[in-house]
């Protein structure tokens, strides 16, 4: 069972989930717990020889009822697949799975924020290579979504809407567009190839999207990750973070105007071989020092997306 402690100095929660110390760590391929369970083979988390998308309670949860939730979302039974290589139909299905989990976890009294994310690559701490993401149901609204809501109040409405308008007016950092979704390297990107993928229309969450928007969101997300993989012709590590409206009822009014579904990518690579580390300034002062300009990164990412197909 995890323990929450409030850090008065920083004004934020810290979660102690010491049981996670023993979680499965980079197992051999033939002992992957996310692969299907094949007759005669080792048992896995998913006792079927074939599956499409699977969601299950994390065996090593950071949060669990009655104080939150932690789930694993497995994208495919193919150990070697990735979000980028999923067929378009499967990526679209995944949007519906996310939507379902947002609705179901968000309806729980003990979940105030549903956070869907993927850590890809050992560079960002992945412990299982099989293509998967995770969902945390936080029993509080975490600092980053809270900051986004505060930004909305500061900007007199929805911050992602306002920032998307600026990006579209400028155009220099836009890397991908379709009828419903825009991807761009943000004006004040922290990471060299950071990208935000945002709905054009104001949509607080996946529940507010129609089927066409979910389809186009999946297309945009795949375009970005395929672009990442094409960038240096190697699997590109990233953290993918889906930001949506908090599900706590006390945030209803604020979130209807201030929260906006968007997906943020934080890739740690700054060159093909060099990683960006969070060091003195980033950790000790909270200020990112970047070695690259977002406008130049956008050119490279736009070209890579074109190559990635």
């Amino acid at each position: 069972v995890s323990e929450l402690r409030f850090d008065e100095l920083r004004g934020e929660q810290v979660v102690y989930a010491i049981h996670r110390q023993d979680r499965t760590f980079l197992p051999a391929r033939d002992h992957c717990p996310l692969c299907p369970t094949r007759p005669g083979g080792p048992r896995t988390e998913i006792p079927f020889p074939v599956y499409e998308i699977a969601v299950f309670d994390n065996r090593f949860p950071a949060f669990e009822a009655p104080r939150g939730a932690a789930e694993v979302v497995v994208y495919s039974d193919d150990h070697d697949a990735s979000f980028a290589t999923l067929p378009a139909e499967r990526a679209e299905d995944l949007m519906w799975v996310w939507r379902h989990r947002y609705a179901e976890l968000g309806a729980r009294e003990d979940v105030e924020y549903v956070f869907i994310f993927e850590n890809r690559g050992v560079e960002v701490g992945v412990t299982l290579h099989h293509p998967h993401g995770q969902i945390y149901g936080y029993p509080f609204v975490p600092p980053v979504p809270a900051l986004e809501l505060a930004a909305g109040e500061r900007l007199g409405g929805c911050a992602p809407c306002a920032l998307l308008r600026r990006e579209l007016e400028d155009g220099e950092r836009v890397v991908y567009e379709n009828e419903a979704v825009v991807a761009f390297v943000p004006y004040a990107a922290r990471w060299a190839y950071e990208a935000h993928v945002s709905l054009r229309e104001h949509r607080p969450s996946l529940l507010d999207c129609d089927a066409g928007e979910l389809r186009l969101l999946s297309r945009a997300l795949q375009a970005v990750v395929r672009g990442y993989d094409a960038m240096f012709e190697r699997p590109f590590p990233y953290v993918m973070a889906v930001h949506q409206a908090p599900t706590a009822t006390e945030h209803d009014e604020t979130t209807s105007t201030g929260a906006h579904l968007h997906v943020e990518f934080y890739p740690p690579l700054r060159t093909a071989e060099k990683l960006k580390y969070l060091a003195g300034s980033e950790q000790g002062a909270g200020t990112f020092i970047s070695d690259t300009l977002p406008e130049e990164s956008a050119v490279a990412l736009r070209e890579a997306i074109a190559r990635g197909g």
Binding site: R38, P47, P49, Y51, A54, V55, E92, W96, H100, A211
Partner: protein
Amino acid sequence: MGAFGAGYTLGVVASSPRPPQSADRPAGGKPERLGAPPERLGPVELGRHVKDDGRALILYDHIRDEQADVSARR
């Protein structure tokens, strides 16, 4: 202990006359099926299960019949 050992045999909490495609496949350990209607979400259908250790498992399958395709695009 079930077919998959402790923690891995499934108890089914909801299933359907047309079970998820994952459950249809021959396997070393198919779950039992109950009569509850399937849950459909746009282009996917889900089947809920519970492992022996109490953890939930949901399998999502793409619906491949024509009617589902139409409803998914409404």
